[in-house]
Amino acid sequence: MSTSNSSGERIITFGEAVREALAEELRRDETVFMIGEDIAEAGTAFKVLTGLVDEFGPERIMDSPISEAGITGIGVGAAMTGMRPVVDIMFGDFITLTMDQMVNQAAKIHYMSGGKFKVPMVLRTTLGATRRSAAQHSQSLHAWFSHVPGLKVVVPSTPYDAKGLMKAAIRDDNPVAFFEDKMMYQTKGHVPEEEYVIPLGVADIKREGTDITLVATSSMVYVALDAAEMLDEIGISAEVVDPRTTFPLDKQTIIESAKKTSRAIVIDEGYERYGVTAEIASVIADGAFYYLDAPVKRMGAMDVPIPFSPVLEDLTVPTPQSVTDMAKMLTGVV
């Protein structure tokens, strides 16, 4: 369903970009396969993988029982022995069930074996709230994996990034967790026809600015961009930095931006406390210490289980308005 914009660029959705990346890698490398619940004929709960089973068959797009720990463990074993599995975990909330296999096994095998075995697998899952899915289907738990040496963690924001980063994740020889915001699957963006790969660990400046740095991940990039527009109207120039991967974290780009603007807000949809915003804020507070004119502020999801009621759920996530308000406070514009 690709279209093109006025400048003739091809425009596709985030979901399509992910599917394209997977299809290209499945085509390129026969050791790549996918396993997960309802990923074949059903094409996942979000229909992101629709059609893949038709091209690649049920041996490479495998429907599994509802066994998150089991399929993750199977992914680890397959990865150690010559395959490149992509394990599909339907909702990010269910990574709770994969923690032992991801953390005690996948993340440590290369190290524990003194470099002899490697685990080139991707765990693909979701994050993000405001879908009225309540407390067990709305969490953004990527901070946990980011905490663990041996894992890499990708949090793409645009179709372009999603495609290029997914291809890099599959080609990476390490276990990589790939988090897709389920509210972004219909988000559109430019994705060229030609093949490209985006290396893991390189931040992208999504908007340049001079007065304040907004470091934002995943769908929070859009929140930051919208806030930047609002700030622009009152004369505040915001730079939006998208780390794209929480590990490796491109500290340099983030710190340079903060040094330039002398103010920063970190925005992420995970729970605020002990989350991604804490790491990035403290990286900035340390690395740009002598340049900062104001404390680095953190805006994560409110520290509550995600409530079902729409009137409550919407309060739990940073918004363009709340980011704008914070930026105004930091820049002294009241």
Binding site: D38, E41, I66, R132, S133, Q136, H137, S309, P310
Partner: protein, 334 residues
């Protein structure tokens, strides 16, 4: 899976017509409730999704009829039927589904998390198999407190994929806990037929732990009720857990949005179950055949249910949302 001749032909002679009619009323209530949930979804009045119990009513009602109000149940994402059968009121159920302050969980839980201490409902659960530990723990608590209650754990056959279930079944049998594992085999894990996800034999999976196992036609409330009564009494006596396999079918989609289903199951299959194995029809026809009731009575029962439920929907639609201050309440017990 061929039905085994496990339980002795249930003795239902002691059940009087009043009680059968009460069960019928309960089933109709669930049926009509769910129809309205579907309507609310289709008219975009309900946030999120819901998983309808239509077709499976005889299981929740038959089992709960054999329970006391202070007995416990745990439920699933497809939980409205269990909640209603255990004694929840329709108005507060709808209020919860709409995220209103008067809902059973103040609108914070929604369709997949309805819980109600007053009726012994420890909560629906959006993690497949996630309540198996809770039900088993409740049974342990019963035994420790020596109260003579029982705990019933409802789950779909998809939960047989979750390792947790096996861990707790082992302990339930080891310690002879008063818990009944009610497996509702409606043939599908979302969009995947159970035969593609489930090797071997369902009953054997519990028998392996030495657990008492029974198998019933989940479309026939006479069988469900009488077998449930036996195994519940057995648990109350201290003779330990039972695994109760119920063969059933969901008449609707996996959730309200699952409308085009032909890629995973045929219209003929659906029609066959709806026509020939409708639990409401089975009971009413039998009662009529036995001359225990006249056809018209069932129309009256249904009409009464409809008017009660329409009122409840109306009430819930007009009920207020929780105050925004609620969002940070109940994270911790103060």
């Amino acid at each position: 899976m061929a039905k085994k001749k496990q339980p002795p032909a249930p003795d239902i002679s002691s059940v009087d017509v009043e009680q059968w009619l009460h069960m019928y009323e309960q089933m109709v209530k669930i049926r009509v409730f769910e129809e309205h949930v579907n309507d609310l979804y289709r008219s975009a009045k309900m946030p999120g999704l819901a998983h309808l119990y239509i077709g499976e009513e005889a299981i929740a009602v038959g089992v709960c009829e054999a329970l006391n109000r202070d007995d416990y149940i745990t439920s699933t994402h497809r939980g409205h039927g269990h909640c209603l059968a255990k004694g929840a009121e329709v108005d507060r159920m709808f209020a919860e589904l709409l995220g209103k302050a008067d809902g059973y969980c103040r609108g914070k839980g929604g369709s997949m998390h309805i819980a109600d201490p007053d009726s012994g409902n420890l909560g629906a659960n959006a993690i497949v198999g996630g309540s198996a530990g809770i039900a088993t723990g409740a049974a342990m608590s019963i035994k420790k407190r020596n109260t003579g209650q029982v705990a019933v754990c409802f789950f779909g056959e998809g939960a047989l994929g979750q390792g947790l279930l096996y861990e707790v079944m082992n302990m339930a049998e080891l310690w002879k806990l008063p818990v009944i594992y009610v497996c509702e085999n409606n043939l599908y894990n979302e969009y995947t037929h159970y035969s593609e996800s489930t090797a071997g034999d369902f009953m054997a999976r519990a028998q392996a732990f030495g657990i008492n196992c029974v198998e019933v036609d989940g479309q026939d409330i006479r069988e469900v009720y009488s077998v449930a009564q036996q195994v519940i009494e057995r648990a109350r006596r201290g003779d330990g857990p039972t695994f109760m396999l119920c063969h059933t079918y969901r008449f609707h989609g996996h959730h309200v949005g699952d409308v085009n289903r032909s890629y995973y199951r045929s219209k003929e299959e659906e029609d066959d179950w709806k026509t020939n194995r409708d639990p409401l029809k089975t009971l009413s026809e039998w009662l009529i055949g036995q001359k225990m009731a006249e056809r018209q009575l069932f129309d009256t029962i249904e009409a009464d249910a409809r008017s009660e439920i329409e009122k409840a929907v109306e009430y819930a639609l007009n009920a207020p949302y929780p105050d925004v201050s609620e969002v940070e309440k109940h994270v911790y017990v103060e």
